[in-house]
């Protein structure tokens, strides 16, 4: 469904991605793990079109999207939950959700879509008129995911959904991600530093090192891989 091949992305003169190949099939949860600065977020931003790939190709359903602007990519069905949540903190929760729906022709399906989001995250319904900035970290993450779901994506890109969130809420959020994948039939591409959690959840996984994919495989195989354990799991600590 999503096919990334030989993508290279630069920030000015600095090369962040050095020929990345990733494949995400329909209905899968795919995890991308790697250390700080490996280029994980850059890859997501390149898929979303916020950063442009200098070379390489990105196909979505065999349509090349590497040169499309971000809003067209969202329109095709790829939504991103950016790192650090990036809630509009001075706008209300409802405004945040409505902004997520801005690709759906003036949010005419808002009532139905928002109901789906409240089913996923009931807490948001009680907070509709609050400003986004007054939510707790976990609630903000739920809002960010809900906001991205408002665009009715077929692929959901998640950037570090566990970042800065209480462990109990992390479990809840990972459960919702699983739910989104199974119930709503949304393909998930997940970037995480919390490698154990991500690989447990994922069908398949990739390991990104210095802008290159160094390993790939089934989620549980990677979990048991000694190199991965040494570098990213408890074994390395």
């Amino acid at each position: 469904m999503l096919n990334i091949s030989k993508v290279e992305t630069f920030y000015g003169n600095i090369q962040a991605l050095r020929g990345v190949d990733v494949k995400v099939n329909e209905g899968e949860i795919v995890a991308l793990i790697g250390s700080n600065g490996a280029g994980k977020s850059t890859l997501l931003m390149t898929i979303s079109g916020v950063n442009k790939a200098a070379t390489g190709e990105i196909f979505f359903d065999s349509k090349s999207i590497a040169n499309l602007p971000p809003h067209d990519i969202v329109n095709l069905g790829i939504s991103q939950v950016p790192e650090g949540r990036r809630i509009f903190s001075r706008l209300t929760v409802e405004d945040n959700l409505r902004l997520g729906a801005s690709v759906n022709e003036k949010g005419k399906n808002f009532d139905q879509d928002s109901k789906d989001v409240y089913d996923l995250f009931p807490v948001l319904k009680d907070r509709l008129s609050q400003r986004g900035g007054t939510l707790s970290g976990g609630e903000q993450q739920m809002l960010a995911i809900g906001r991205a779901m408002m665009a009715r994506p077929r692929v959901l890109l998640l950037d570090e959904p566990s970042l800065g969130i209480a462990p109990k809420l992390v479990n809840q959020i990972f459960a919702s991600i699983k739910n989104i994948n199974k119930e709503k039939k949304v393909t998930v591409f997940l970037v995480e530093q919390n490698a154990k959690k991500a690989l447990e959840l994922a069908d398949r996984g990739y390991v990104l090192v210095n802008g290159k994919i160094s390993l790939e495989g089934l989620g549980k195989d990677l979990l048991n891989n000694p190199d991965v354990q040494a570098a990213y799991l408890e074994g390395g600590k």
Binding site: S48, H71, T92, D95, S129, R131
Partner: protein, 422 residues
């Protein structure tokens, strides 16, 4: 702690005094006068001394004030907060009262020509402030060249009215359209800029338009300005004492005595309606997708992109719509003055409008009204002391920034609220 604070404050105010001396010493203290056709320097050290003492003492008290403010942080006791809470609770009633007052204002006994002129000027600035609030307050784009759109509106109205003889009501939308197009013209090159860089380019744009108007003599008559701009008519009925043969005027149609005030009152209502339209439009558009996208863009551009908001179109519409209202205000200005020249569209006008928006509390519609009344009122009060006007203006800005650093009404209301138990 207290002793320490006083010591610190004294040190600080001494330092302030030295800076003031360095600044004002040469500027104020050394004055050149022509004596017997020879230029001599006449020192005015006493005035300098007064200024330096004023600055040092002022700095001392500001220090004490901000220390006290620091101490009672978290306690909602400040005067400004009380005002904004009051406005929050009674906002709707106050707005209705203010509009009602504006409507009956021309029939007040004290509303003579002078007061009407001031009221019209304030309304013009309120409308400009509301227009610029779309760009600065909602979309978060600092535009220092807003006067350019005011000028474009004024000149397009004047040129169409003079050369084609079109009426005010036809020219008004055309002027708005032209100004909006110039807004897009400015918008394109600055799409990638933000913050300070955006401010500099918009500033330059404002100057470019003024210099263009000054030098394109064939079209704009350059520094001579455009004269004989037609006055607006009351739905086709002109305000004239001696109309042309067979033309009905406002006073003959309604069977009134001719009174030049009729035209002034009409102008007043015209700008009132235009300003209220601007306000109603802004309030309405904040709840529409495009308005929400403006506010989201102000908050976080990357998040906007990841949600499929098109930042290019969003920014361009903000520039275009803000500029359009500037253009409306400009054509009103042209028809009121009946004479325009590039001198009316200098940078100081942009600065005043930006000051109105920023001092009012960015994004606050009521704040714009309050700061306009305050700033323009102050300029008027000091009109008799010509040379001190700008001192008072600058002083007022400094005071607001000390006591209300985020504007008179710093609190921004959420666009959607859900009743009491929300």
């Amino acid at each position: 702690m207290g002793k320490d604070l006083i010591q610190k404050s004294l040190k600080d105010s001494l330092f302030t005094g030295i800076i003031a001396l360095a600044l004002f010493g040469p500027i104020v203290g050394l004055r050149t006068v022509a004596k017997n056709e020879v230029l001599v320097v006449e020192p005015k050290w006493f005035v300098v001394l007064l200024i330096v003492i004023f600055c040092a003492v002022g700095r001392f008290f500001i220090n004490i004030y901000s220390y006290k403010k620091e101490k009672r942080r978290g306690e909602p006791s400040s005067f400004g907060k009380a005002i904004s809470n009051f406005l929050d609770e009674k906002g709707a009633q106050i707005a209705i009262a203010a509009i009602a007052f504006s409507i009956i204002f021309p029939f007040m006994p004290f509303a003579d020509r002078y007061w009407m002129d001031i009221a019209i000027m304030m309304m013009t600035y309120i409308m400009l402030g509301w227009g610029l609030n779309i760009v600065i307050g909602l979309a978060g784009l600092l535009d220092l060249g807003y006067v350019a759109f005011y000028a474009v509106g004024a000149y397009s109205y004047a040129l169409f009215a003079i050369h084609f003889g079109w009426s005010f009501w036809i020219c008004l939308p055309i002027a708005g359209l032209f100004a909006g197009m110039f807004g897009i013209l400015l918008g394109f090159p600055v799409l990638r800029l933000r913050g300070d860089y955006l401010a500099i380019v918009t500033l330059a744009f404002g100057e470019m338009i003024r210099i263009l108007l000054l030098n394109w003599y064939e079209l704009t008559k350059g520094p001579d300005g455009l004269t004989g701009i037609p006055r607006p008519s009351f739905f086709g009925l002109p305000f004239k004492r001696y109309p042309d043969e067979g033309v009905e005027t406002f006073h003959t149609f309604f069977g009134l005595e001719y009174d030049p005030m009729q035209r002034i009152v009409f102008l007043y209502y015209l700008i009132l309606v235009l300003a209220l339209i601007t306000n109603a439009f802004t309030i309405k558009i904040r709840r529409l997708p495009v308005g929400r996208a403006w506010e989201a863009l102000r908050e976080d551009e990357i998040a906007c992109k990841s949600l499929g908001v098109n930042p290019r179109n969003t920014k361009l519409t903000a520039f275009a719509i803000g500029a359009m209202f500037g253009g409306f205000a400009g054509s009103f200005f042209a028809t009121r003055q009946a004479f325009i020249s590039p001198e009316s569209f200098t940078f100081i006008e942009s600065a005043i409008i930006v000051a109105i928006v920023v001092l009012g509390g960015m994004g606050s519609q009521t704040g714009v009204v309050l700061s306009t009344i305050f700033l323009i009122g102050l300029i008027e009060v000091f009109r008799d002391f010509e040379s001190y006007r700008m001192v008072a203006f600058g002083g007022a800005m400094v005071l607001i920034m000390i006591f209300r650093p985020r504007g008179i009404l710093a609190k921004r209301k959420p666009t959607i609220t859900m009743g009491k138990h929300g």
